[in-house]
């Protein structure tokens, strides 16, 4: 009969344990940070530094694809900070009243910049956006309903007046941006446009071609404190840290553009040479990872140096 009593008791014991553990948890302030999957590497670094500076605050991320967040936040009404992979998703949250004090002037720590990537060796000799319309080029496009890059593909090629031709060339409709990176890496497509932050993950297996200013998209990446944040003060501190010079520098290491002001036109295309230096670093980084004799230093690859060294360590990207 002892066995039975034990069996009957175990849920009680489990519940007791749960309560004890939750009580132990209760002592610390744990921020819940809804963040886009793409920002993972940069935000993990930021979290570590922030937690060292504020030992009583812990940051818990909820990394997901940006499309999942609105449903999550609507349903759960939980979370302290929100940093999706496109302003669009944050504006949805603003519209629903989850964020009240979003200021597009000041709340942008970093930007995505669009670049062309092709498989190693650039087999179809792609040089400019117009080359995507050449017959026989297998183009990877994103599905505009599923991911932000798809919207930018449409915008870019429409601006260049080649959208119809590019659509004919398209051989894939990706649901998220890594699909495009993987396709280029495995030579399933000849060319595509992705963010610089995505391109930097595939340095070993792709070529990077910067886009001329007229077609270079600059995508704002906002961060905001949610209305129902449990620890408003701490959340604000973390947001301020993300927006500080130190925070931005971390984003810069992962190929985000971090200039406080990047002049853009109404559609979000680049107007001047502000991001040119970053593009040069990126192209050099791609060379450096592939070519052992290429000089890797601050001058050639800028802040991307850590990323380059990380990718040189293994044959397949990782660390």
């Amino acid at each position: 009969m002892n066995k039975i009593r034990n069996l009957a008791l175990s849920p009680v014991i489990a519940l007791f344990l749960l309560v004890t553990v939750t009580q132990a948890y209760g002592g610390e302030k744990r921020l819940l940070f809804h963040a886009g999957l793409g920002q993972r590497m940069a935000l993990n670094e930021i979290k570590e530094i922030f937690e060292k500076k504020h030992p009583d605050v812990k940051v818990n991320f909820s990394y997901k694809g940006s499309g999942y967040f609105i449903a999550d936040i609507t349903r759960s009404k939980q979370g302290d900070l929100f940093m999706p992979g496109e302003e669009f998703y944050l504006l949805q949250a603003v519209e629903r009243g989850f964020l009240t004090d979003y200021d597009p002037e000041t709340d942008i720590p970093a930007y995505f910049v669009t670049v062309i990537i092709t498989p190693k060796g650039n087999p179809k000799n792609i040089k400019r956006v117009e080359d995507f319309a050449k017959p026989g080029v297998r183009v990877g496009l994103g599905n505009p309903r599923a991911c932000a890059i798809g919207i930018w593909h449409q915008k870019t090629f429409k601006k260049a007046g080649i959208w119809e031709k590019v659509k004919e060339n398209a051989t894939m409709s990706a649901k998220c941006i890594p699909e495009l990176g993987n396709a280029a890496q495995h030579r399933a497509i000849d060319a595509t446009i992705v963010w610089a932050t995505t391109a930097v993950l595939y340095l070993r297996d792709v070529e990077i071609i910067p886009i001329e200013h007229t077609y270079r998209g600059i995508i704002r990446l906002p961060v905001g404190v949610l209305k129902f944040a449990r620890y408003k003060e701490e959340a604000q501190k973390l947001m301020d840290f993300i927006l500080s010079e130190e925070g931005r520098a971390i984003f810069h290491k992962h190929a985000y553009a971090v200039n406080p002001v990047i002049p853009v036109d109404k559609q979000g295309f680049c107007l001047d040479a502000t991001t040119d230096q970053d593009m040069e670093y990126l192209v050099n980084a791609a060379k450096a990872v592939k070519d052992e004799s290429f000089q890797v230093n601050e001058k050639t690859v800028g802040d991307l140096i850590e990323e380059v060294l990380r990718e040189k360590k293994t044959k397949r990207a990782g660390d």
């Binding site: 209760g26 990394y63 999942y68 449903a71 890594p178 360590k313």
Partner: protein
Amino acid sequence: MALGSRGGWWPALCVGTAGSILAIYVLLVTSNWIYLGWHDTLYFFSKSRMWERFWLTVWTSTISTSFSLLVGIPAGYALSRFRFPCRYLIASIIDLPIVVSPAVVGAFLFGITTRFPFDWISEYYGIYIGRNVYGVLLVQFTVTAAFCARLMKASFDMIPTRFESVSRSLGASSLRTFFKVVLPMAKNGIIASMIVVWARAAAEWEGLMLFVGATEGKTDIMPFAIYLDWNGGMMGWVTSMSIVCILMAVSAISAMRMIGGRSSVW
């Protein structure tokens, strides 16, 4: 059953088909392993991050499996032995989490964890229910509990009711009969089912994706970590962790076959 005999082409075809299915899977694993290369295999397998994820997966699935068993054994026994009203309806409802996508489970868990009394607990202790490792356990348990009950029913169905009748006719109570007669006889089936449930819990990620979200090193069990790294373009991690997952699954299934013997579910 010599292959050359009359009508021998049929078994040959069947064996051939089985062989080609096997070949496809073996090819999948080996080609990926070759893609990874020996140097990178050693590199990734020696990283602590790999084994932290591994242990996280192992202990979370072990705990959720034990809770599932606690619920699944009595539930399975009831479904197998007792006749009660709406039995089929109840059985079908219990089957639901097996047929519907775990994503649905993940989405529905929001509904319960943000309502009374959970909202009160979360407010009182200042925690977010479901955004930590307990969320992982909750999703795993919800998905596997029904599965477990189903498999337990199968194991109990395998045991003839005569033994129970005899035991009871000799004066043992139903409870004593259950623990002294039924449970020992169902032992192999239970262990086999347990391993399947465990593997199912370890493979869960859709529900996690919706309900929990990943925190590095806290809630990202293997399948979820693979998804995260795939999004980060870290193909080396993706490939090496997939290989670990496959090795885990293969050992679980073989263990099930060895222990379960004839009473294994398949």
